[in-house]
């Protein structure tokens, strides 16, 4: 009871009761202990000599990066084109796979609870595993190259698009669906007329948003051999050519900003 009576007989007010207040303190204490414990583990695993050196290393790194070796840029157009293709084709492939999965995962369109659980499992597995891990796996399976990158991006996109889309499907108005069923329409027709028009804007927005994220992710897939500008990045880092690395960074920066701008414009136009 937040309102209590003091010994003098005047009522006093506090935000919390004594019990909740103690529980809050305990919660904070437990959180702080957990944090300190984690910090201890990290600091045990750290060579502090290197860390003391970090400032010097950092300034050294920057001095080697500047000035960027601009002449290197013309060798990056090919890899950049590959990066774009990995992101775009990967997104398209991901959309194609995520679309049916989302319909199977949404409570109101799923044919059977078992199918729904299977679809949710696909979505969770795809979401939990980073595209780089998918790429590592696919490179050992398919061999290095753009194809592994495309499939890695697609596999990771299923979970993202699938999750957001099935949530959108679950939020549609049920009455138009009811009305379409009442005309004697078949199951697929109800989907096509009752559900699809309602989720189309959300679907387009989600896809463009994911494309934007995929551009970002595809820039690093090359680090594990899956094609694109990451291959050049890896080579430059391994040969300690930091003035080439900085050119690649600028390139990535500009591309990502451009894709973010495009995606924001398209999403704005849809809504």
């Amino acid at each position: 009871m937040p309102v209590s009576t003091t010994p003098q007989g005047t009522p006093s007010w506090r935000l919390h009761t004594t019990r909740t207040q103690w529980l809050q303190y305990l919660g904070w204490l437990a959180g702080a202990c957990l944090f300190l414990l984690c910090w201890k583990v990290i600091s045990d695993n750290t060579m502090w000599v290197f860390v003391e050196d970090a400032g010097r290393q950092g300034s050294d790194l920057i001095s080697r990066m500047l000035p960027p070796q601009w002449s290197y840029a013309h060798r990056l157009w090919g890899p950049m084109w590959d990066t774009l293709n990995i992101a775009t084709l990967g997104t398209l492939l991901g959309i194609a796979m995520a679309f049916p999965v989302a319909f199977l995962a949404a409570r109101n369109t799923s044919p059977h609870p078992l199918v729904r659980s299977a679809a949710l499992l696909i979505i969770v597995s795809s979401r939990s595993i980073n595209s780089l891990i998918w790429a590592m796996l696919l490179v050992t399976i398919l061999g290095p190259g753009v194809l592994a990158g495309i499939i890695a991006i697609a596999l990771r996109s299923i979970g993202f698009i699938g999750k957001l889309l099935y949530e959108a499907i679950e939020e549609i108005h049920p009455t138009p669906v009811e009305a379409i069923s009442a005309t004697g329409a078949g199951r697929m027709q109800v989907m096509g007329y009752g559900v699809l028009p309602q989720v189309m804007p959300a679907f387009a927005g989600i896809s463009v948003y994911r494309w934007d994220i995929n551009i970002r992710e595809s820039t690093v897939l090359g680090l594990v051999g899956a094609g694109g500008i990451g291959l050049q990045l890896n080579a430059a880092i391994n040969s300690l050519a930091w003035n080439q690395v900085s050119v690649i960074f600028v390139m990535i920066f500009v591309t990502v900003l451009a894709s973010e701008w495009i995606s924001a414009r398209v999403r704005h136009a849809i809504i």
Binding site: L34, F35, L37, C38, W39, V41, I42, S43, N45, T46, M47, F50, V51, D53, A54, Q57, G58, L61, W81, D82, L84, N85, T88, L89, V124, S125, R127, S128, I129, N130, L132, I133, M136, L137, T140, I141, L142, G143, G145, V146, L147, I150, R216, E217, T219, V220, L223, V224, L233, I237, F249, I252, F253, V256, L257
Partner: protein, 269 residues
Amino acid sequence: MSRQAKAQAGQWRRLPLIENPRLRWGLVLGLAVYLVLALASVEVNWTRVAEGAGRGLNFLAAFTQPDFVSRRGDIINGILESLTMTVTSTVIGVALSIPVGLGAARNIAPWPIYYLCRGIITVSRTFQEIIIAILFVVMFGFGPLAGMITLAFATIGFMAKLLAEDIEDLDWRQVEAVRATGANWWQTMNHAVQPQVMPRLIGLSMYRLDINFRESAVIGIVGAGGIGATLNTSISRYEYDTSAAILLIIIAIVLLCEYSSSHIRRWTQ
């Protein structure tokens, strides 16, 4: 003939999405040309793919018999390291993202601070965690500290951007009401801004915790600590049963994270 007259005679077509036919067909053509060019530039070594198909099947089969045991020590160490990196980086990142987020909100920050904070956010969001991890590994040496700093830096960009957007469209009347009582800047923040922003901040922190864990599983590839290194080794040695075990653990922890965060969000709202 107008569309109405046509419809009367039973001739009707759906309205095209883009009215201008030249633009419509231009877009279709452009898309087709792009697809052809893009697909043509994908080089596939089919003999290598055929060779790998067997390995792909091995990998799928490994999920039925994941091997948790033979690299038990590495897996436990890696997961613990990942978890500690996740917790510390989320706490530090969220704490730092609050001032950056306040500074990046157009309605309360003066413009030099606004541009500085927006700059930090843009840089942090543009580069993948793994690129930033490479730089921090060079600076701080191998190990979880570099990973933690990487994740904290990425957290700042993510949280501060969303926080700034939240503050930009918060209900200004409440702020005015508190200010009208004669409250100073800190009191206004505490009584008018914090209650409006807090529930979403907690929800986003939980979400970011989840993301940080997933990211902590990959930055080990470049030597920034966590389970990634173990996973990388097991994949490149074709020890798919160990990789399957690690992936299953990651999926389980992400599921657990999501489940508990939905509870915490319901509890705070």
